[in-house]
């Protein structure tokens, strides 16, 4: 999942402050692609009402419409879903991740598109604990085969390729004791698998340009 959190309402209200007009709409566009955290129709409807109430405090009346997209990062699907709904829309407020915001903004270059969310990371959903946790940093050169399926770039606070750093205390990170030390996890995992020799491998500094910017499907 691409993990997002809702922006402070004041910030969103600032974005749309100049688009208050009874005769034209601000379109709140949800996204059903990554399904958690939810940013579909229910969130769109809830956000609409929060902003209407927030607008009242500023003596501003906004006119909203709400809709959602199957995957806002899919330019074709998003264009075909939104085009019929864009008459009379003066601004778009996107509930998607940054990719979705960029996508909509590219499709409708003449309409301002604002993000309602902050985008954080690629995360694993753990339903029982109701948490999402970063698992992958999208580096473009995956080393998970050698680290027991645990990514040190995403999960080590320092992003170390050659850990552990010496600050690991009882399996927790010295910078944030709430977090597991990724290299401690890697050690434990490789031990179970009888592959501790993999820890002897030295990784030179990573070439982050391999993350790239475009791939052909």
């Amino acid at each position: 999942m691409i993990v997002t959190t809702l922006k402070p309402l004041d910030e969103v209200l600032d974005f749309i402050a100049s688009y208050s007009n009874p005769n034209s709409n601000i379109l709140i566009v949800g996204c059903d692609g990554c399904t958690t955290p939810p940013r579909g129709l229910r969130e769109a409807r809830t956000l609409r009402q929060l902003l209407e109430l927030g607008g009242k405090l500023r003596n501003t009346d906004f006119t909203f419409e709400t809709t959602t997209t199957a995957k806002q990062c899919d330019a074709y699907l998003t264009a075909s879903a939104l085009k019929p709904q864009m008459d009379n829309v003066v601004a778009v407020l996107s509930l998607a991740c940054g990719v979705g915001v960029n996508t909509v903004a590219d499709i409708f270059p003449d309409v301002p598109v604002f993000p309602a969310q902050n985008t954080h990371f690629f995360g694993m959903e753990e339903r029982e604990g109701a948490i999402l946790e970063q698992m992958c940093a999208g580096c473009g050169d995956c080393i998970l085969a050698e680290t027991g399926g645990i990514c040190p770039i995403a999960r080590c606070t320092k992003g170390l390729l050659n850990g552990a750093c010496g600050g690991s205390k009882e399996g927790k990170c010295e910078l944030d004791p709430a977090r597991d030390c990724a290299w401690n996890l890697i050690y434990d995992r490789l031990k179970i698998q009888g592959k501790l020799d993999l820890l002897k491998k030295f990784y030179p500094p990573k070439d982050y340009s391999l993350a790239g910017w475009r791939v052909t499907t």
Partner: protein, 389 residues
């Protein structure tokens, strides 16, 4: 130290003077709240375990148990009043947990005009009420109970079946016929809009009954025989693709608008778990500034319904949920707290957080609920009315 202990009023009480220690109550109590003390032969009620289902009250042969909810007196006066109001000689008693709207209930029994009596668990109705109904001139009694394996009070549904059997037999002997009382069972079901489904899997994860399945290539299907209509999936669906029969979102929106317009100030709207009964809300006379919307479970309270109510000028919203240990649904405990906390955090950004209050008082302590309600009203009066802002 001079400690003054004031006995708190509780919803169910055992009167030792009348108790014959017959143990019927303790054998029926679904929650093991009533026990016989071996040494003294005395029956003891542990109020902390009591879920106020009323089954003990309705079955005690010695009338040694008192309850403040749906007791014989209040049920009788309701029937007297309702018989005039609905002008019918057919009575329909329905469990809140399984009844569709009144029209739907009528359809189930094939009656159009009837006296409705909606209760949390039909098993709690004492035999006297059926007899009194007959004396009042009621000719036909229909009872809608929850499916046997989905009685939220576990034994209420089987108990009513036995009571009806006995009563019909008795009335047959008296010449009233053997089919005065008809029993039907029902379960509300989830309704799926497959076009809106985004295959997120929330319903599959949350359904306690394995009724939801995620089919490839990515749309959900429900086994309606397995669905118990608890509504948890509906509350957790981010795509608004699910509805629970009789609790459709649009009809709740309509109700929010209607109630908001008829309330006096300060307008207090209560969203309540239907299993959390309280005298101040259930005695049939709500204060003119208080209105009530029942939900299948408080975890099903829809944030946009709360916001809609604020938009319609409601000054304060109280959510009456059951405490986690008292939750009548599986897997729903604690969900309301989480939901309200999240919404309050967002409301704090627009200065409305104090107007939303979650109360998790159990029905066994009616005064505690009243105190919370009073305090909340006071707080709202201090903050000021929403409309004057």
């Amino acid at each position: 130290m001079n400690e003054q202990v004031i006995e708190e009023r509780v919803a169910v009480k055992l009167n030792d003077d009348f108790c014959s220690s017959c143990s019927i109550c303790s054998s029926l109590c679904p929650f093991e709240a009533i026990k016989k003390e071996d040494e003294t032969n005395k029956i003891l009620l542990e109020i902390e375990k009591c879920q106020v289902c009323g089954l003990c009250y309705s079955t005690c042969p010695a009338k040694a148990i008192d309850t403040i909810y749906y007791d014989i007196g209040s049920l009788t006066s309701y029937l007297e009043r309702a018989k005039q109001e609905y002008d019918s000689d057919t009575l329909v008693i329905m469990c809140k947990g399984s009844a569709p709207d009144f029209a739907g209930v009528g359809e189930l029994f094939g009656v159009t005009k009837f006296i409705p009596l909606s209760v949390p668990c039909v098993g709690r109705i004492p035999e006297e009420i059926f007899l009194k109904a007959l004396v009042m001139g009621i000719k036909e009694i229909n009872i809608l109970a929850c499916d046997d394996d989905y009685c939220r009070f576990e034994k209420g549904s089987p108990i009513i079946e036995r009571k009806i059997l006995a009563l019909n037999l008795l009335w047959g002997q008296l010449g009233y016929g053997t089919e005065v009382i008809t029993l039907k069972r029902n379960t509300l079901k989830v309704k799926v809009d497959r076009d809106s489904c985004i295959a997120c899997g929330n319903c599959v994860f949350y359904c306690p009954y394995d009724a939801a399945k995620l089919d490839s290539p990515g749309s959900v299907s429900f086994d309606l025989d397995a669905c118990k209509g608890c509504g948890l999936c509906v509350a957790m669906c981010p795509a608004l693709a699910l509805e629970l029969e009789n609790w459709e979102r649009d009809s709740i929106s309509t109700l929010v608008s209607k109630l908001s317009s008829e309330m006096e100030q300060p307008k207090i709207l209560v969203f309540r778990c239907q299993w959390a009964v309280f005298p101040s809300l259930d005695n049939g006379q709500l204060a003119p500034n208080i209105r009530l919307i029942d939900l299948p479970c408080a975890a099903g309270v829809e944030p946009f319904h709360i916001l809609e109510a604020f938009q319609k000028g409601v000054d304060g919203i109280l959510i009456a949920a059951c405490a986690e240990d008292d939750c009548k649904l599986e897997k729903a405990g604690g969900k309301t707290e989480h939901l309200v906390e999240r919404l309050r955090e967002r409301l704090s950004q627009i200065g409305l957080q104090e107007r939303l209050h979650l109360c998790t008082v159990a029905p066994r302590y009616p005064e505690r609920f009243n105190r919370e309600l009073e305090q909340f009203i006071k707080k709202i009066e201090t903050i000021g009315l929403e409309e004057s802002k």
